[in-house]
């Protein structure tokens, strides 16, 4: 027992040090409820494989869109035959009639591409900006409203409080405004 005493006491002292170190770390801020919710939404978005949506943008004819996630990019097929390629937060028109880049970017945002939304939400979180806006009602039901974009245009993602699945997207810039209803969302097989 006498031989073990230095080790027992030493272990206890190390424990005290650990407690002191823990207390020091407690001086750091804890994540806000809004940030925690945003992380959960990003996690949910990462699980989505494809999204079908019904987009409506300013004076343009409504289009339906299907966004499918692949390993390194996302592909959007619009009902007017145009195709978009999304990599990170960048968008390219890869097929169909030419449209102005601002319109193409807005259509990609409204298509509900999960990785695009997750990347933008992540960037906003890292910039330390507020993500959660005031809740709204959709079809009489309460929903969370998240500000996704870090800088103009304003992009808002509406999600279900119960499942955090995306329900709708709103887009607003100086020249354009629009919204989309996300009709169906397919999750990846885990």
């Amino acid at each position: 027992m006498k031989r073990a005493t230095p080790f027992i006491v030493g272990l206890a002292l190390a424990g005290l040090l650990a407690a002191g170190a823990f207390a020091l770390q407690m001086t750091l801020q804890s994540p806000t409820a809004g940030d925690t919710l945003a992380v959960r939404v990003i996690t949910r978005l990462e699980q989505i494989r494809s999204v079908r949506s019904d987009e409506s943008l300013s004076w343009l004819k409504s289009v339906k869109a299907i966004c499918t996630s692949h390993e390194t990019n996302e592909r959007v097929l619009l009902s007017d035959g145009r195709r978009l390629l999304v990599a990170g937060t960048r968008v390219w028109l890869t097929g169909g009639l030419w449209r102005r880049p601002l319109l193409v970017a807005a259509e990609a945002d409204l298509a509900g591409c999960p990785q695009l939304l997750a990347d933008k939400l992540n960037a906003r979180l890292l910039a330390g900006k507020q993500v959660i806006e005031a809740p709204i009602r959709i079809n009489g039901r309460r929903a969370y409203r998240l500000r996704v974009s870090n800088q103009p245009p304003i992009i808002e993602l509406i999600v279900s409080p119960a499942t955090l699945m995306p329900l709708a997207i709103r887009f607003s810039s100086r020249r354009l405004s629009g919204h989309s209803r996300l009709l169906s969302v397919a999750l990846s097989r885990t």
Partner: protein, 389 residues
């Protein structure tokens, strides 16, 4: 007067006093030289950083007066700032801040409360920590090597080309004095202060946990002469690093409900630790040109240099426990699968600089190092906007 002093003290005691006085003068002179080299090297780094910002880089031209030394706050400095401002947040499958240890953001946060902007407070803390670390390293080096070698090692560290990191808003400037003081206080039997330094160092950078090796070696060597209470404190000092690591895990569990958040965040950053990581690190070198990752070769060169200097230090009879700790600091990161940032990781492998100092006994080597290093140090600052250290 001297004859009267000699007559009073006796010839042997008088000789001892003369030797001590001369040694004191040598040490004081050594400290002065170290301070000069620290000042010269930091002026070079800060002036280069200011020049980059005033000249402007890419499309960004932040005003130097409004955002001083923003270059030195780039890369990981941004993550430490985020933690200091908002705490930790684990974002699954994406690079997030639990990969960065908490002590440095805590210190930045405290410095910020006195009104300093985060970048400036980070840079200030790093530079002040660096000069304290250099002076302490001189004391520690003299325990293992002759005074000229110990002084040379510190000067070489001050002007080392990768040493610009010690002026960035990175934790290395804080970890250096903590690591050195842990070793110094262990040798002087001040175990509780040693324990606090070891714990604090690990709370700033995980590789400081390797202090377990030299601290355990000192404790084992001195064990027969220690009383029970001193032995207890020695054990606490050896366990301090692991205890700090456990406290970080406990904190992440408390704040994020994920005690392994650090490991998950590292994984998202592309670093997953496994024995096969060394193979992946070497394989990465073959595909680096195709992946436009030529900067990796910079870290390979530094890694090779560090290992060579560790061998030189081993031959110079620097304690093996310190050599092992240094080797661990250089080699263990390779198990994450990449050589990335090896140049920075090796800065805390103290025996590397003792090995360099031994080589520098040759006058021509010393002159080449002192002529080239400051130039390379200033030039290296200009690489910051292009590549993280």
């Amino acid at each position: 007067m001297i004859e009267r002093a000699a007559a009073r003290a006796g010839p042997l005691e008088f000789s001892r006093r003369v030797v001590r006085t001369r040694q004191g003068a040598v040490i004081l002179d050594g400290r002065r030289r170290i301070l000069v080299w620290w000042l010269v090297s930091r002026v070079l780094v800060l002036a280069s950083a200011a020049a980059i910002q005033i000249e402007g880089f890419r499309k960004w031209h932040p005003s130097f007066l409004a955002h001083p030394f923003v270059v030195l706050g780039m890369w990981d400095g941004r993550w430490y700032r985020t933690i200091a401002e908002r705490g930790y947040l684990l974002i699954p499958a994406r690079g997030s801040d639990p990969a960065f240890f908490p002590l440095y953001p805590v210190i930045e946060r405290v410095a910020h409360t006195v009104g300093l902007p985060y970048v400036l407070s980070g840079v200030l803390v790093a530079n002040v920590g660096f000069v304290i670390g250099l002076l302490a390293l001189y004391e520690l080096g003299r325990e293992f090597l002759p005074e000229p070698d110990a002084r040379r090692a510190v000067v070489y560290l001050a002007v080392f080309p990768f040493g610009f990191v010690f002026s960035m808003a990175y934790p290395e400037g804080v970890v250096l004095p903590l690591v050195v003081f842990a070793g110094l206080f262990a040798l002087r039997g001040r175990w509780f202060v040693c324990a606090m330094c070891a714990a604090a160092a690990t709370l700033a950078r995980p590789e400081a946990i390797l202090l377990v090796l030299p601290l355990a070696a000192v404790a084992v060597r001195g064990w027969p002469k220690l009383d029970t209470w001193s032995r207890s404190r020695a054990v606490a000092a050896v366990l301090a690093g692991p205890a700090a690591l456990i406290s970080f895990s406990a904190y992440l569990g408390w704040t994020l409900n994920e005690p392994l958040a650090w490991s998950k965040a590292e994984h998202a950053w592309g670093r997953s630790f496994a024995l096969t990581g060394v193979y992946r690190a070497v394989a990465q070198l073959l595909t680096a040109p195709k992946d436009h990752n030529q900067w990796i070769y910079r870290d390979v060169v530094f890694c090779a240099g560090y290992l060579l200097m560790l061998l030189v230090a081993l031959r110079a009879r620097v304690p093996r426990s310190w050599i092992l700790a240094g080797a661990g600091m250089v080699l263990l990161p390779l198990t994450s699968g990449t050589f990335t940032s090896e140049g920075r990781f090796g800065l805390l492998a103290l025996p590397v600089f003792w090995g360099m100092a031994v080589l520098g006994r040759r006058v021509w080597i010393n002159r080449v190092v002192l002529a080239l290093s400051p130039v390379l140090l200033a030039a290296a600052v200009f690489t910051i906007p292009q590549r993280f250290p």
